[in-house]
Assembly symmetry: C2
Homo-oligomer: 293 residues x 2
């Protein structure tokens, strides 16, 4: 963690490393019990460069902590049935503990329908109805990785959430909705804004904690935030000048009490959260194994 | 719908009746197809008077539209296993289309654990993880009745939600969280407040639509709302003066554009929504029957 005036700048790398160290210890112990490494299989369709880059980063992270990562690539033209068959085969393969389906999928495939083919016990992104519902019911098992990463950062920096006003800019199923649920479970007051919000500044300026995932560079300027607010920038946007988030980092960091940079903020912690989910799924399958024996 | 000055006062009875009329038509048609009436079974534990009254009202409503309603009563001392066994038997009883477990349950029973015994296809209160998750994923099947009732009232009165600021006072799994999800799916900006919210008035006074379910009589006064706000009062509190909600109805109705009374507002529509859910469950089981034949 670096300091600028009194503003804390989050090191996503450091937080991710702490999580990975813990995961690595867990992997060593479970590898002995299973007599094999935990294994995750990723399904990827088509030739999206960013998807392939992200998959490569995640596989590398798996390798670092001792998780076996394999991938199954499909051509752009794969049918729903073909993809679903392969996922279903993997559901019943007791050598595979977790399944990722890399998004986005080509337009002819309904992502929701594809994801719902994953067995909830192997759903390491937490997108199936069963896992989402367990989150609503405050009985979480596998929680989506990006929202979980935001919570890790807030926890790591001991940001109090109870009674705080958290504003989330994003109402997607992948980020905004699960994040709102996680913050409500911490008894924060939660506002969810998005592209249809009419007066965004009126909402963001109330935030004790502002979490933004709009994908709009420079959306958040210093006029839009409260002094000493906590600013978590989830967006990753490619621009001519390089990777950026939603926040005008240079000016906002002077007013915020804590801020995540992009890159190097939420991103690395998201990958670490994915590793944690793989271990949760592996541990759960190990328990089932014991019960059945 | 009555009028006070220009304030619309919602008639929950009228809206409920419209829904019931539609359900009745559906029941007649499906009774012919099934060659029996749709059937719902309610499980009730102990001697809670309010629970018994509510159950009586719901059973009466079922009877009115032609749904068979039976109940299984248990003593306060019933164990989790005994109750779970009976629920599981009913899950596989193809004469029963829907299951209610009347809340609250005695303290020795974990409500979440009991509810999760209900098969999602018969979960007519929409509390199981599978149904909650389908709601998060904007692929709803059986949605909790009270939030659904609020949406019916807003739809009936053509209240625009897209871009509106909806404030919900309640962050429970039964009301606040599913309601927030439903409003987000309509592209409202949504704020969720509750007992830990530090400056409630600052939040409520922003609401284009205020939905309150705190159970605190006179919590919402005219100073706390914006002129011409829509006020939906979900609370039902027994006081010495009778049943009341959270809203100081007399003064707030002068400032609001639309308001629900208590009693006679959300309550009757909630029961009508339960009937709709029974029909959804029955229709789904009929489809499965056709597939298996």
């Amino acid at each position: 963690m670096q300091q600028t005036n009194s503003t804390q700048i989050v090191s996503g790398k450091d937080i991710a490393q702490q999580i990975k160290n813990q995961v690595k210890t867990d992997v060593e112990s479970i590898t002995k019990q299973l007599k094999r490494k935990p294994q995750v299989k990723s399904f990827i369709v088509g030739d999206n460069k960013e998807s392939k880059l992200y998959l490569k980063l995640r596989n590398k992270a798996c390798f670092e902590v001792g998780i076996k990562a394999v991938q199954h690539e499909f051509s752009e033209a794969v049918t729903f049935r073909e993809l679903a068959n392969e996922i279903e085969k993997t559901n019943s393969d007791d050598q595979v503990d977790g399944i990722f389906v890399q998004l986005p999928l080509p337009k002819h495939l309904d992502a929701q329908k594809v994801l719902s083919c994953i067995h909830p016990s192997k759903d390491v992104e937490g997108f199936t109805a069963k896992n989402m519902g367990r989150l609503v019911n405050n009985d979480p098992f596998l929680v989506p990785c990006t929202p979980q990463a935001v919570m890790h950062i807030l926890n790591h920096h001991q940001i109090p959430l109870k009674g705080s006003h958290v504003v989330i800019i994003n109402h997607s199923t992948v980020v905004g909705k699960p994040l709102a649920l996680l913050c409500l479970h911490e008894n924060a007051t939660v506002s969810v804004a998005h592209v249809f919000t009419t007066n965004l500044k009126a909402i963001t300026s109330q935030a004790d904690v502002l979490i933004t995932a709009a994908g709009v560079p420079n959306l958040i300027t210093k006029e839009m935030i409260k002094k000493d607010a906590v600013i978590i920038d989830v967006a990753i946007v490619k621009t001519e000048k390089g990777i950026t988030g939603d926040v005008d980092f240079k000016q906002v960091k002077e007013k915020a009490s804590l801020i995540t940079p992009v890159p190097g903020g939420v991103g690395p912690v998201t990958i670490a959260s994915a590793l944690q989910n793989i271990m949760k799924a592996t541990n759960a399958s190990l328990k089932v194994k014991y019960i059945n024996e």
